[in-house]
Amino acid sequence: MLSEERSKELISIAREVRKDVVRMIGLAKVGCLESSLALADLLVYLYWEALSVDPSNPRDLRRDRFILSKRRAAPVLYAVLARRGFFSREELWSFGRLGALLQGNPEYRRIPGLDAPSGPSGMGLGMAVGLSMSLQMDKMPCRTFCLMGDGELRDGTVWEAAFSASFRRLGGLVAVINVTDHGKEQWGPVDSVDTIKAKLESFGWTVAEGDGHDFMSMDATFRSIMGVDSPKAVILRTREAGGVLLPGGSSCRGPLSREDVDVAISSIESDGRRPSDERT
């Protein structure tokens, strides 16, 4: 059970991570700010509480593995890995540049702490199945986490992998699915939490849901299913841009100006995150 104190600590780490994300995307003039801001709390929870990893020994065979299937969130993964100590924060400022450690899409073998490449949407879960099978063959007790966005649930490969995971009884596989409140985007949410849950359960998965901005909720959600011996999915609701006020309304896809960066950072600093009871 997460203590109140620890939760506060994680909130402040996530605030710093968000600020790093805004700075690095501001400098690079590329990257999807919304996805990264929305997933900051979630990734901080995973890397500080859920995953068993050791930054001083990133290739430890007994570590838990993490696959980022939602590649647009690469900047926040980088910011989290840097803050967790896998590499210097200095690397963040050259994100996306020629020859940089941190490429636009996470590149396997290049980045310390990265367990898998990211690519087209719908690719991560299939790789997570293979990685989980490999760990099972080696009788390693470690788990494989795969972070997906709700949009990629439209990809057929996700369901091929979901079927395979349950057929192969991969108890060490944990899919983390982020369902964002898409706000004003005209296509709206791809699917509701309830129907995603029902689909995965019909495939033989154990599913729990929680609030992707509330550390207590995430902790309770992950704990509620960790003992179960089937593939597991944790569906976490997040708000677009993680509730951070972005210049020019809620959608900010062009390069950020220096003023935009200042507005976003002061929004993060002023309240850090919105109260978690503003659920949608």
């Binding site: 898998a116 690519g119 293979g130």
Partner: protein, 313 residues
């Protein structure tokens, strides 16, 4: 001398033999009948059937490779490389994982099934993928040796086999196989014939016919289409001054393209391609199809005479 047999049998025998020593060798198959099941019965914990979903199979293979396994994946070409191209690219080739894609049947192999089940553009797709070795053995010997070599690669590979029964050939430099190598089968000063896969056998037949006409053909088994054994091809062409390329593939992106690319930049000579041109396959028996698409020794002889006449003297 072994009886002629389908190449995938030699492939699977090699996997079975290697499985003993190489404990991280894992085999994935899209459905059980693709291979004989020999590996499965010897190493049941290291064999997986992917239930005909090749996309998931390639991703699973990538995941297994991320976990430190050396993975051999098999399914027929249209599904193995056609259906999954984007996933091979992003999950296997870009991160350079040890996933070896093996098609037990390629080209016009699946006779009666027709165009969707045949693939005459697989070599083009795979040679276009940066860093991907592309192998097309023509007999049991080369299949065994190449399978043994790919397992030690620090990245992926693609190998096209065939279901047709083919006899073992003897090279002039026996035993000297390598990824990026080629095998000299006959020596001659008249014309160079580069071939891969089943067309190597047609090239040898053509060489006999040419020999009876007083033309000595140098037949090169280009079992690695990429990287092409450029030095072997160039040193032959410097002597013969002309070249024929024979392959069971479309006009684009296969061995013909590789040889032309090499020769046009390093030693331009007349070249003729004997291949399936710019067409998909169709239903038919093996013989009928080869005749219809012109993948015969007769076409190679004709092409050889043409390039000989075009040669600058």
């Amino acid at each position: 001398m072994r009886e002629p047999s389908p190449l995938w049998i030699a492939y699977e025998e090699t996997l079975c033999a290697m499985g003993e020593e190489i404990e991280d060798l894992v085999v994935l198959d899209s459905r059980e009948p693709t291979l004989s099941g020999a590996f499965k019965s010897m190493y049941p914990r290291r064999f997986f059937v992917a239930g005909m979903s090749e996309q998931e199979m390639v991703l699973t293979a990538a995941g297994l490779a991320l976990g430190g396994k050396r993975v051999f994946v098999s399914s027929s070409s249209p599904f193995l490389v056609g259906r999954t191209y984007d996933l091979i690219r992003s999950s296997v080739a870009i991160p350079s994982l040890e996933v070896h894609l093996v098609s037990p049947c390629g080209g016009l192999d699946m006779g009666p099934d027709g165009a969707p089940s045949q693939m005459v553009e697989d070599l083009g797709l795979m040679t276009a993928m940066p860093g991907m070795p592309v192998l097309v053995p023509c007999d049991g010997v080369s299949t065994r040796r190449l399978t043994g070599l790919t397992v030690d690669l620090k990245g992926p590979s693609y190998m096209r086999l065939t279901r047709r029964a083919l006899r073992d050939l003897t090279g002039l430099d026996e035993g000297d196989f390598s990824i990026g190598g080629a095998r000299l089968l006959t020596q001659g000063e008249g014309v160079t014939i580069c071939a891969c896969g089943i067309m190597v056998h047609e090239a040898l037949k053509a060489a006999q016919v040419l020999s009876s006409q007083g033309i000595d053909a140098e037949v090169i088994d280009c079992y690695t289409v990429r990287p092409l054994a450029e030095q072997v091809v160039l040193s032959s062409v410097r002597r013969t001054g002309c070249c024929v390329v024979a392959e069971e593939h479309s006009l684009f992106g296969g061995l013909g393209s590789a040889v032309c690319q090499c020769l046009s930049s390093k030693y331009p000579v007349p070249v003729r391609l004997v291949c399936g041109d710019d067409r998909f396959g169709q239903s038919g028996s093996d013989e009928e199809l080869r005749e219809y698409y012109g993948l015969t020794s007769g076409r190679i002889v004709g092409a050889a005479v043409q390039v000989l006449n075009m040669r600058r003297r």
